[in-house]
Point group: C2
Chain length 348, copies 2
């Protein structure tokens, strides 16, 4: 009896050990499988968002950063890139819709400039090809700089003597470097450096401890629900266009004051009605309010609306919370250089 | 004859030596006398502009700097201190008159926030006692934040959860630290650190090589013409009120679109008609346009107008140039901390 009791106890201990090991292994397996799935759908940020069309140089960055802040180029001297893209609000302005020269309201919410250069296009409806194209078009934008011609922009730039040598250094092969194209190239070059690496990037690079258990569960939820159908790639979005409101009109849930037909305005193709560029979700915690019209201020509410409108799913409180937890892990680090404002050349 | 010729040559050499020495000594004397006169009229910047009413602490500075940038407290979410006081435009906005909420024009030009806390009062007509008073009054200013009550400001601050702990740390003895008074105290504490030491300070401390010969000649001109009657002290101004247009109405030369009665609006005393606070001239090169209404954009023109209106003197081109040369030596260094923008707490 004694020996049989001993054997029984041994068996029990062994069984517990085996069960525990299985749990550990399957948990590790689950973790591995989350990471594996994540690595199949996302990739870490590059150190800069390079472009063959506009090679990044220190001289362009220096000038571009100044121009980004310089209101004196705009029609009423109140608008610069910074007006709608506050670096310390993670590249946004906290408004539903951006406000430009003479207090003109823009048609849509100001998207962030961080990690933006890697997107397929800029703005919400794909009418800005690149960050350079965006910067150039902003000069003539009725709701942004409000200038009437690129010549006017050039004249305003030339009125600030200090820019002459800065443009010459940034564009050494140009005979007349102070012009709107180079304004755009310099700002673009600077914006191509605006990446915000986060713990999510460390995780994607293989550090499984970089995310907390709750964040991993959130990531898993994000992938399993189907959010990754659109929000994927390096930027967790920004790679495609998609109809907003696949299951029902978006304004049913966003209570938007005005119906925006989205990309239809660009292509005049019925299939593009209510189609918008899928926004980048990096730093989304920091860039309220949400959607193309800034109609929703709370991230928790925004994820519920997205699940319903795009996936036809009514998610639970727990799921919404997990999604938000994961999304918060996408908040990255703004470099000290990006957080430092450049002194602008005087006008005298 | 030989010996007499030798004696003559010796005498000649000696005379040249004496004459040269006298020149050197008198030049050194002149330099000493410029420095002596400068040190009698000006003094170097302190490391911070302390106030017994609002002791500077790292916690207040940290919070104050954030609040300085936060537009979300204002009525239309577009106004923060930074809107009119761009750190990278040396604390001004490059506009003739500042523009506040809903594009409302302010009555006067935005004065710089650099070296401002040391002035006798803030703004142009002495209706803001201190930087703290200015920050608090800005909340209700029709042309600034545009709020209707300090309670509204408090509610807007409380709507951003991240501020709770920051106010608690900055004001550890307050039971309800998130309020308009502490908003003002925190911003004031930060602004009290905004000093911009320049080569002029090094000169005042005794380094005679800190200014160039032309700058010293400009300084001498500045003192001899009589500019120092008003522009003196640590801040080269900011220490008194004075009528603008002592010899003839100011608008004769500034071509101001509107006549501003200045401090009369505060005191209703006839003697205060057209009286304004003497502005600080530190960094004046960087803070165009000039005067209470920003009516003059060029520094060279501004100094000629001042000489005529205040001293009744028509200065020469050479004198104007020398004055500008001296004034440019007042451009100081903005600290790396002041040039770094703080990330603002999210709203979610």
């Amino acid at each position: 009896m004694k020996s049989s009791g001993y054997a029984l106890r041994l068996l029990l201990v062994f069984s517990i050990f085996v069960a525990f090991s299985i749990c550990l292994i399957s948990s590790a397996d689950a973790q591995d499988s989350v990471m594996k799935q994540a690595r199949a759908n996302f990739s870490p940020l590059p150190t800069a968002m390079e472009s063959a069309d506009n090679p990044i140089t220190p001289q362009k960055i220096r000038l571009g950063k100044m121009l980004f802040y310089d209101t004196r180029i705009s029609v009423d001297r109140t608008v610069s890139c910074f007006k709608c893209h506050w670096i310390n609000l993670y590249g946004t302005d906290g408004l539903q819709k951006a406000i430009g020269n003479h207090y003109k309201e823009n048609p849509r919410n100001a998207p962030t400039v961080f990690n933006a250069a890697g997107e397929i296009s800029e703005h919400w409806i794909g009418n800005r090809k690149s960050v350079e194209d965006q910067a150039k078009q902003a000069l003539l934008g009725a709701g942004s700089y409000g200038l009437t011609s690129y010549e006017e922009a050039e004249a305003n730039l030339k009125a600030i003597p200090g820019y002459d040598s800065l443009f010459a250094k940034a564009f050494p092969n140009d005979k007349n470097p102070v012009n709107a194209d180079n304004f755009a190239m310099a700002i673009g070059a600077w914006e191509r450096t605006l990446v915000t690496p986060s713990r999510f990037d460390a995780y994607l690079k293989g550090d499984s401890t970089a995310l907390t258990a709750a964040e991993k569960e959130g990531l898993s939820t994000f992938m399993d629900l189907g959010c990754i159908q659109c929000h994927n790639g390096t930027y967790v979005g920004g790679g495609m266009y998609q109809e907003f409101g696949l299951t029902e009109p978006y304004w049913n849930l966003t209570h938007s004051q005005k119906i925006d037909e989205g990309r239809f305005a660009v292509t005049k193709d019925e299939a593009d009605k209510y189609v918008f560029k899928v926004p980048v979700l990096r730093n989304v915690e920091m860039t309220s309010p949400y959607f193309h019209d800034g109609s929703v201020a709370e991230l928790n509410k925004a994820v519920r609306i997205m699940a319903k409108l795009q996936l036809g799913k009514t998610i639970t409180d727990k799921q919404a919370e997990l999604l938000v937890t994961f999304l918060e892990s996408l908040t990255g680090k703004i470099s000290a250089d990006a957080l430092s404002v450049p002194i602008l050349p005087p006008e005298n």
